[in-house]
Subunit: 218 residues, 2 copies
DNA sequence: TAGATTGTTAATCGATTAACAATC
DNA sequence: TAGATTGTTAATCGATTAACAATC
């Protein structure tokens, strides 16, 4: 099952951004756009846009540019957004509940089937009609309801254990909000959102100038 | 104010990860570590670790390795985590409240001074002793309370307007959770967490094999 | 057809890895 | 001292940008 074409993560991470900008253009009634016009809007080079798109196919037309709707639809498909995905949230604390309450993901085909928690006060409650279940029922639930994506909003201490249990049950993708890197087999996807890591780059950058002034002085 | 040493974002984004791993080692009572041992734990090359650290200074010792506590403390300072930062959250919906409720950031020196919202039902409520204020009071509040970091958990339609208002009041850093790229002057920092972008890389990867099977067939 | 803009190859740039002399 | 491991230079790799022939 070897792939001839291997797309780099650098390109993959730019795809959702193209999708966003094309969606906005579509909403604004723009029907065609050249790589140069798009490059100005997005603050990247036209060359990069053409290279990126061409790793998936020739979506443009010489002398014309790209048809906004066609390209938008193509990227929608490339991102797998024409399908639906069943998901669960493990950890029904503040962040887990916030994600469950956000309806945007549902509209893109990401369906939430259940939340799980250890806290008896939370078990049995519902968030937008989705029930919070006892985490002891995790394996049982996943056996009966095939799950594509598990969203982890649990303390870092419990993350690896939950991942192991879900991998054993065949879950192939994790959206991890725990502040820890979890280990999975090669065929399992982990996308981590490390919020503190992100925040700490802000404090770094707020102090960068001062930092190098100090280093220089020594 | 030109810097001689310019650290690439690639390196900056790895710093919090080093910090996390060293914190764990410290907690486990490990006192020294070589770049090779650390590289095994983190799944990166020892060479990269040494290169990264050396862009800030010589923290190691030949024949010995790195003192875990010293290196951890050094990276804590590099990340600016020995200081405190005053922050506000604009948008007190699910995500804004989840961030306000999370005490972890506070313990790293990120102090929350206020939340802001347009919703009259939310205004006046308190989250962990921090009040939700009318967003009309934004400029007034920021004038009286110097703010280092503004956290944006508002709908994308309102993000640029709020950023402009806060930049005008001198706010120099934004942690942006809105699904839009906001424009700021060169001396202002924006760190965006695009949750849907992150999620869409999962659906992409879940479908990548199939995608290239299709492209090949054509 | 003439003009515009893609698709794609070639050149450049930057980041990562390898190698090893310096040194603890 | 001998062994280990850093700090740093050089080599490699991959990603980005430039250039232009193909073509709509």
């Amino acid at each position: 099952m070897a792939k001839e074409t291997k797309i780099s993560m650098a390109i993959i991470r730019r795809l959702p951004r193209y999708h966003r900008y094309l969606g906005e253009l579509l909403n604004s009634g723009v029907t065609r756009i050249s790589s140069q016009e798009l490059s100005k809007k997005m603050g990247v080079t036209a060359s990069q846009i053409r290279q990126d798109l061409n790793s998936f196919g020739g979506f443009g037309q010489q002398g014309y540019g790209y048809n906004v709707k066609d390209l938008y639809d193509a990227i929608t498909k490339i991102l797998g957004l024409e399908k639906t995905y069943n998901s669960i949230i493990v950890g029904a604390g503040n962040l887990g509940q916030a994600i469950a309450n956000y309806t945007g993901f549902q509209s893109w085909g990401f369906k939430l089937k259940a939340l799980f928690d250890v806290n008896p006060k939370l078990i049995g409650l519902k968030i937008r009609d989705v029930e919070i279940l006892d985490v002891d029922l995790l394996e049982d639930f996943v056996s009966k309801n095939p799950i594509d994506i598990a969203i982890l909003t649990i303390p870092k201490e419990r993350a690896q254990e939950i991942v192991d249990r879900l991998v054993a049950k065949g879950v192939k993708a994790f959206w991890n909000f725990s502040a820890v890197d979890v280990n999975v087999p090669d065929d399992v996807i982990v996308e981590s959102v490390h919020l503190s890591d992100s925040l700490f780059t802000i404090s770094y950058r707020l102090n960068e100038d001062e930092l190098f002034k100090k280093i220089k002085e020594k």
